[in-house]
């Protein structure tokens, strides 16, 4: 029974996300695609940035999570630029200039992204309002029947 259920879930997943078949390059990965920087501080900065950059060919994954060759090229690019002294914010902006805010999971606050930041706050305020109203002592004549 449990196995049949698992199978059904798997079949559903395959129907919703058909497995993509990508032709791949025969070239080896870029030098720093799978190699850490020697300086742990620089490597940590590179990792932080890689985790918030979106993979261009496997949308929904970060370049830190993806094994696509292009994601490897982007990781190597990020590590080499950080090793050369570029700041993470500059690298992120370089990519935003080319791919738009879509490329980062931490988009700047602008006209089309403001809802992302404001809506959760509004929901929280709305919830607080409801809770406070509920917790307020009942007025005379408004008690439970």
């Amino acid at each position: 029974m449990r196995f049949a259920l698992l199978l059904a879930v798997f079949a559903l997943c395959c129907a919703i996300f058909p497995p993509a078949i990508h032709a791949q390059s025969g070239l080896p990965p870029a030098p720093y695609a799978y190699r850490q920087l020697d300086d742990p501080v620089q490597e940590a900065a590179a990792r932080n940035l890689m985790a918030e950059l979106r993979c261009l060919v496997c949308q929904g994954q970060s370049i830190a999570d993806s094994d696509a060759p292009l994601a490897g090229d982007m990781r190597s690019d990020v590590r080499e630029r950080i090793a050369a002294g570029e700041r993470p914010a500059e690298i992120r902006q370089w990519l935003i200039d080319r791919y738009g805010n879509w490329v980062t999971y931490d988009p700047p606050i602008e006209g089309d992204t403001i809802a992302l930041y404001v809506l959760p706050l509004l929901a929280l305020l709305g919830g607080l309002f409801i809770v406070i109203r509920r917790l307020r002592p009942a007025k005379q004549g408004d008690g439970a029947p």
Binding site: I16, F17, A23, Q24, S25, G26, L27, A30, L56, V57, Q59, P69, L70, D73, M74, S76, D77, L95, I96, D97, R98, Y99, G100, W102, V103, D142, G143, A144, P145
Partner: protein, 182 residues
């Protein structure tokens, strides 16, 4: 509490369920039909980034940004021998070249022997082919896959990006656009 108020409270109880159902319907719809469009480059109407790529094929020179901006509009075709739609568009690129369009190539992550086989099989419409072994020019152009074709005007400014294979029905439109970009 009056009956009227109680009825209103009962009705309100269904609101969260309604919200969840509407959200679930939106999520399922988005998963099935959703956002799988290609990501357009934002590096349009801007000059080509400076680059200088080594030759990818034995019988063609490499490609550098200084090759552009000589008054001649060009196509910049981003391709690879391992890319299947690139095979599909090869005859159309050849037709464009026959009609006098200058087609420049950038081979992404390609091995020389694979590229030589690809060009031997499908013909070589390229004026020059640069080897972009680590997708660096692709990233600088805002390109997110192969094949992609950029229309570069006579001043070396990127005017348009076409994602996916060039098909024969696009040829007249491309010729007219390039003619206007002199």
């Amino acid at each position: 509490m009056s009956n009227n108020q109680a009825a209103r409270r009962n009705w309100l109880l269904w609101v969260p369920l309604g919200v969840v159902v509407i959200l679930a319907a939106m999520f399922i719809w988005a998963l099935r039909h959703g956002d799988d469009r290609l990501i357009q480059s934002h590096w349009i109407d801007k000059p080509l980034p400076a680059f200088d790529l080594p030759a990818a094929a034995a019988d063609r020179p490499g490609l550098a940004s200084r090759n552009f901006g000589d008054g001649q509009p060009r196509l910049l075709n981003v391709f690879a021998s391992w890319c299947i739609p690139c095979r599909v568009e090869a005859p159309t690129l050849a037709e464009l070249q026959r009609r006098g369009v200058i087609v420049e190539g950038v081979a992404i992550r390609d091995r020389p022997e694979d590229l030589a086989r690809f060009l031997g099989e499908l013909g070589n419409p390229y004026h020059a082919i640069g080897a972009d072994e680590r997708s660096q020019l692709a990233l600088a152009l805002g390109s997110s896959g192969v094949p992609e074709t950029f229309l570069i005007d006579g001043r070396g400014v990127i005017r348009e990006q076409i994602q996916g294979a060039i098909t024969p029905d696009m040829v007249p439109d491309l010729m007219a656009k390039l003619e206007r970009m002199r």
